[in-house]
């Protein structure tokens, strides 16, 4: 058995979710290869080789792979897939985009959002917004899966000494073209991997009011998140959305401010170590999962909290 992890990277560095996928891969097989396919991605390849537990890095460096569009990347994964019993990627926007293409072409099922590897063919995954956990067994010769990053510890970024093997790129299918990427620049940590997250909900009332959370997030070194209601209302950017259909987070501390706690939101944060809820409605469902609940006006409580930390 051998496992192949499709690295998520920006050509220079390996993105965090890849490290969680490596840990999941090591539970499937002791022989883990990481595929780094990109354009001008030698640095990312070297970083992958240093990840603890990785045996081999396959490096594919070609201009048409620079943006890692699903069509070209899936072809590349298929070109190297022979011999692997497991193909994994993080369950991020990146992994979710490309792995089903690979699975379909291999005529195998994909197991999405794996939260536990019970054995090399049996996995746990949440369904119904995490209200149920399914244990599934794959009868396929290759197990293609995306990995819920919060369910696996990240592999160490140092200590590995994998061999790096350059592999020729396969041709670009030429059916999709990258135009641009607008990534919000932020001094704050990335939401998906942050140790502390401060999230706002509909109770914030406006995009302007959302700024009330900033001093608290700054003090805590926290990433900022939002409920779907807040994003839909235009109070916060789309990529801040925490929940079933947004980002899944499990920080050490999650501070939910003005969030009522719909099941779809809880699905995205209920694995946080400590949850704090601040809400003026004492009956809000968020208090049902919060370790520490504070009933009160967020516009008084949040600045006071920022001041006292």
């Amino acid at each position: 058995m051998a496992a192949l992890v499709i690295a998520e990277h920006d050509n220079h560095a390996i993105r965090g979710g890849t490290l969680n996928a490596v840990t999941a891969a090591l539970k499937c097989s002791a022989d883990v290869t990481v595929l780094v396919a990109g354009g001008g991605c030698a640095a990312a390849g070297a970083a992958a080789a240093a990840i603890a537990g990785v045996s081999k890095v396959l490096l594919v460096d070609a201009p048409h792979l620079t943006e890692q569009l699903a069509e070209a990347l899936a072809e590349q994964v298929l070109a190297v897939a022979g011999g692997y019993t497991h193909i994994l990627a993080p369950a991020t926007a990146f992994g979710k985009n490309v792995t089903p293409r690979v699975a379909a072409r291999l005529d195998v099922a994909q197991i999405s959002d794996v939260t536990m590897v019970e054995s090399p063919d049996t996995f746990q995954r949440p369904i119904y917004a995490g209200n149920a956990i399914a244990t599934v067994q794959s009868a396929d010769p290759v197990k293609v899966m995306t990995v819920r990053t919060t369910a696996f510890d990240p592999a160490a970024t140092t200590g590995g000494s994998a061999t790096v093997e350059s592999v020729a790129a396969v041709a670009d299918p030429g059916i999709s073209t990258f135009i641009k990427r607008e990534v919000a620049k932020s001094e704050r940590p990335e939401l998906a991997g942050a140790k502390i997250v401060v999230s706002g909900g509909r109770g914030m009332g406006s995009a302007e009011n959302f700024k009330v959370l900033e001093p608290l997030a700054d003090k805590l070194g926290a990433a900022m998140g939002a409920s779907r209601a807040a994003v839909d209302a235009g109070y916060a950017p789309n990529d801040w959305q925490v929940g079933q259909t947004g980002k899944i987070v499990a920080p050490q501390l999650y501070v939910a401010v003005g969030i009522s706690g719909a099941i779809q939101h809880l699905a995205g944060m209920k694995d946080s170590k400590v949850i704090v809820a601040i809400n003026k409605d004492a009956e809000a469902p968020i208090f049902g999962v919060a370790d520490y609940g504070l009933v009160g006006d967020l516009f008084d409580a949040v600045p006071e909290l920022a001041g006292k930390i």
Binding site: A74, A93, N97, T99, S112, A129, T135, A192, R228, V289
Partner: protein
Amino acid sequence: MKILVPVKRVVDYNVKVRVKSDGTGVDIANVKMSMNPFDEIAVEEAIRLREKGLATEVIAVSCGVAACQETLRTAMAIGADRAILVEVGADDDLQPLAVAKLLKAVVEREQPGLCILGKQAIDDDANQTGQMLAALTGMPQATFASKVELADGRLVVTREVDGGLETLSIRMPAVVTTDLRLNEPRYVTLPNIMKAKKKPLDVLKPADLGVDIKPHLKTLKVSEPAGRKAGIKVPDVAALVDKLKNDAKVI
């Protein structure tokens, strides 16, 4: 240009499902069923493209039990012109790969210029079918779309990715999967519900399409997630800070 919009009948998003005591699944008997919310957005987007004169016909398709006809009627009430049900039995475990194969067969019959799907269904949360359909048909894909434009025979799609937005130009025919902010689906009106009852709805069987729908994954059990107990209410901010510093030790 035809637009094909696959839709799925799922447990309504307001329902909190219960795991069956025998661990075989979740209890969906007598539970309200609705169209998957992302699929509603897909139907709406297709109708808007037709209303702009960029498409001639919107075909809704569903793979599932006979009751999916209701879901297809809803799609036609939103504005789809006709519908196709690929009907399976209540005991068939229809998984995303099989659905993608059925949809591929429908694509071959109907030759749509565009397929718009929801990015994920809120029951199995798989987020696979659109990408699989694209792969099986050799079509390009633009997943998690928040904006779709047609220009010079290509699709320009803005996608929601981690950290921001990405814009792609893809050849057609193509597959698009919808994210939440692509549009806000219109309300279905009573006259349109009545009209939808008269629109054509064809029923096919997987065998008619020559597709084997055998499941690749076996569900061994379905269990309750680890519960999370409610903690305590703190009287004021000072008490909260004290708890976080001294009990939880997270700050």
